[in-house]
C-alpha cells in the first residue's frame, strides 16, 4: 500500500498540473459566473415582464439540467448546430453558463430578503441606477449571500471533475490516468479526493472571513 502511494508520488507532476488546471477552471468559472450572476439577478428583479420572464426560463432550464448532460450538449451537440469549441473553451463555457443560473438565483433570493427601507433611503438621498445598485444595494446583498455563494463555488470545483469526459486534463483526469496506467486506483483516487477537500477548505476560509464581516454588521 505504501508502495502504491510511492507510485502516485512519482506521478506528482501530472497530479500537480491537474490540480492547477482545476484551480484555474474553478477560479475563472467562479469569478465569471458570479459577475454574470449579479447581472442576471438585476434582470430577474426587473419589473419589465418579458425580460425577467426570459431570464426566469433560462434559470429554471439550467437548474433542471444535469451538468454532465449539459457538457455533452455543449461539446458534442453544439458543433452540429455550427458552434465548434475546443475542449477548454467548451468546458469553461459550460461551467460559467450553468453556474451563472445558480448565482443569479442565489442573489435574487437574497435581494428579495433585503429590507426595502435602506434602498428607499438611497433613492431619497439622490442615488439612482448603477450608483444606487453598486453603493447601496449590492454591499449588504454580497454579505448576506456570501455563504451560499461560497457553497456554489465549491459546487463549481466539484462539477469541474465532469470535464474529464471531454478530455480536459484537470485533477480527476490526472488521477484517472495514473490509476489506469499504474494500477493504483485506491492511492490515486484518495489523493485526488484529499486535494479537492483542500481546495474546498480554502473557499470555506474565504466564506468565514466574509461571515465575520457580515456578523459585525448584523
Amino acid at each position: 500500500m505504501i508502495h502504491d502511494f510511492g507510485i502516485v508520488w512519482s506521478e506528482r507532476g501530472l497530479l500537480l498540473s491537474g490540480l492547477m488546471n482545476t484551480m484555474l477552471l474553478s477560479a475563472l468559472a467562479g469569478f465569471c459566473a458570479l459577475v454574470l450572476g449579479v447581472l442576471l439577478s438585476t434582470v430577474l428583479m426587473q419589473r419589465a415582464r418579458l425580460l425577467a420572464q426570459t431570464a426566469r426560463v433560462f434559470v429554471d432550464a439550467a437548474r433542471c439540467t444535469p451538468f454532465l448532460l449539459f457538457v455533452y450538449f455543449v461539446y458534442y451537440g453544439l458543433p452540429s448546430a455550427g458552434l465548434r469549441f475546443d475542449n477548454w473553451s467548451a468546458g469553461l463555457a459550460a461551467l460559467i453558463v450553468y453556474h451563472t443560473a445558480y448565482m443569479g438565483e442565489i442573489l435574487r433570493g437574497a435581494w428579495m430578503a433585503q429590507p426595502r427601507e435602506p434602498i428607499e433611503a438611497g433613492q431619497a438621498f439622490g442615488y439612482t441606477g448603477l450608483k444606487l445598485f453598486r453603493r447601496i444595494v449590492l454591499p449588504p446583498l454580497a454579505l448576506a449571500s456570501a455563504p451560499v455563494v461560497g457553497n456554489q463555488i465549491i459546487q463549481i470545483i466539484k462539477d469541474s471533475a465532469f470535464l474529464t469526459i471531454i478530455a480536459l486534463p484537470e485533477l480527476t483526469n490526472a488521477a484517472s490516468s495514473i490509476q489506469s496506467r499504474r494500477y493504483v486506483p485506491f492511492a490515486s483516487f484518495i489523493i485526488a479526493m484529499l486535494l479537492y477537500w483542500a481546495l474546498c477548505l480554502v473557499v470555506e476560509a474565504g466564506v468565514a472571513a466574509a461571515g465575520r464581516m457580515a456578523q459585525a454588521r448584523r
Partner: protein, 285 residues
C-alpha cells in the same frame, strides 16, 4: 424670535407648497386634494389617525410615491415635473431629492457602513463634495446628536434611539432646505423617544424647515409652528398648536385628541384596545 403670523404668506415665502395633491392605491383614495404650505424655518406637524394618509403625503413630497394629481413646490420649483411639463428623469428627480432630507420610521441606515460612513456616504458620493470637508462636518453633526463616540460602530450595534439620531445626522449632512420626518419615534421603545425628540426640538428652535409626521402630541404642541390635522386623506383642520390642542375647531380633531388625552401613546388605535368582555371573563374558573 419667531414673529411670523401663521396666515398664508405669498408664494415666494414658502419653502414648501403642496397644492391639490391626490393619490390613490387602486380604489383607495389615500390623499384627496391636499393643500398646505410651509414657510422657511417653520416646523409643521402632520397629525391624524393611522391610515389617514400622512406618511403617503410625506413620501409624495420627495416623489418616493408618485402623486396622481396636484403640485409640490420646493422654494418655488416644482418637484417631479420638469419645466417642460413632463415627468422628471431619474437623475433630475435625484437632483431635487438632494435638497429634501428624510428621516425614516425604521431608521433605514445602510447596514454595511459605520455610523460615520453612513453620514458621509451621500454628501461624498451623490453631492461629490470634498471628503475632508464632509468628514469635518459629519463629525460635528455626530457630536451635535451625541453620537460621536459611536462613529465607528455599525448600525446593528446601536439602540433604536441611537440609530434614529444617526438618521437625523445623515439627513442634515446633505444640507437640505427641507427635512421630512416619517414617524421618527414610532418604532422606538418609550424610554428612547426622549433623546430623539430632544434633537428634533433643537432643530426646530434653530429654524430648520421641517415637516414631521408624529403621534407625539406633547412634542407637536411644544415644537410645532403649525399643525396640519388629517383624516381619511383630507386636511381637516390647520392651525397654531395652542388653538388646535386647547380649542380644536372640528369634531374629528376633538375626537382624535380625546384619544391622546391620557398622555402620548405612540400609535394608539382604538382597534388595538381589547374591550373587556364579561362573557369571556366569566369562562375563567
Amino acid at each position: 424670535m419667531n414673529i411670523t403670523i401663521p396666515t398664508m404668506p405669498s408664494d415666494n415665502t414658502h419653502a414648501l407648497k403642496v397644492v391639490g395633491l391626490s393619490k390613490s392605491f387602486g380604489a383607495l383614495h389615500v390623499l384627496d386634494n391636499v393643500s398646505f404650505g410651509v414657510a422657511p424655518g417653520e416646523t409643521v406637524c402632520l397629525l391624524g389617525p393611522s391610515g389617514s394618509g400622512k406618511s403617503t403625503l410625506l413620501r409624495c413630497i420627495n416623489w418616493l410615491e408618485r402623486p396622481d394629481a396636484g403640485r409640490i413646490l420646493l422654494n418655488g420649483r416644482q418637484v417631479g415635473i420638469s419645466s417642460g411639463g413632463v415627468v422628471m428623469s431619474d437623475s433630475e428627480l435625484a437632483a431635487m431629492r438632494m435638497h429634501i432630507g428624510m428621516v425614516f420610521q425604521h431608521f433605514a441606515l445602510w447596514p454595511h457602513l459605520t455610523v460615520l460612513q453612513n453620514v458621509m456616504e451621500a454628501p461624498v458620493h451623490v453631492q461629490r463634495r470634498p471628503k475632508d470637508e464632509v468628514l469635518a462636518e459629519a463629525e460635528a453633526l455626530l457630536r451635535r446628536v451625541g453620537m460621536y463616540e459611536k462613529r465607528d460602530a455599525f448600525p446593528a450595534r446601536l439602540s433604536g434611539g441611537q440609530k434614529q439620531r444617526v438618521g437625523i445626522a445623515r439627513a442634515l449632512a446633505m444640507k437640505p432646505t427641507l427635512l421630512l420626518f416619517d414617524e421618527p419615534t414610532s418604532a422606538l421603545d418609550p424610554e428612547l423617544v426622549g433623546e430623539v425628540l430632544a434633537v428634533m426640538r433643537d432643530l426646530a428652535r434653530e429654524g430648520m424647515t421641517m415637516v414631521v409626521v408624529t403621534h407625539e402630541m406633547a412634542f407637536a404642541r411644544e415644537a410645532a409652528s403649525r399643525i396640519v390635522f388629517m383624516d381619511r386623506g383630507v386636511v381637516v383642520e390647520t392651525g397654531d398648536p395652542e388653538t388646535f390642542f386647547s380649542a380644536p375647531k372640528t369634531e374629528r380633531a376633538r375626537q382624535f385628541l380625546l384619544r391622546y388625552a391620557s398622555g402620548p401613546v405612540p400609535n394608539a388605535e382604538p382597534s388595538s384596545i381589547v374591550p373587556l368582555n364579561p362573557e369571556s371573563a366569566s369562562i375563567r374558573p
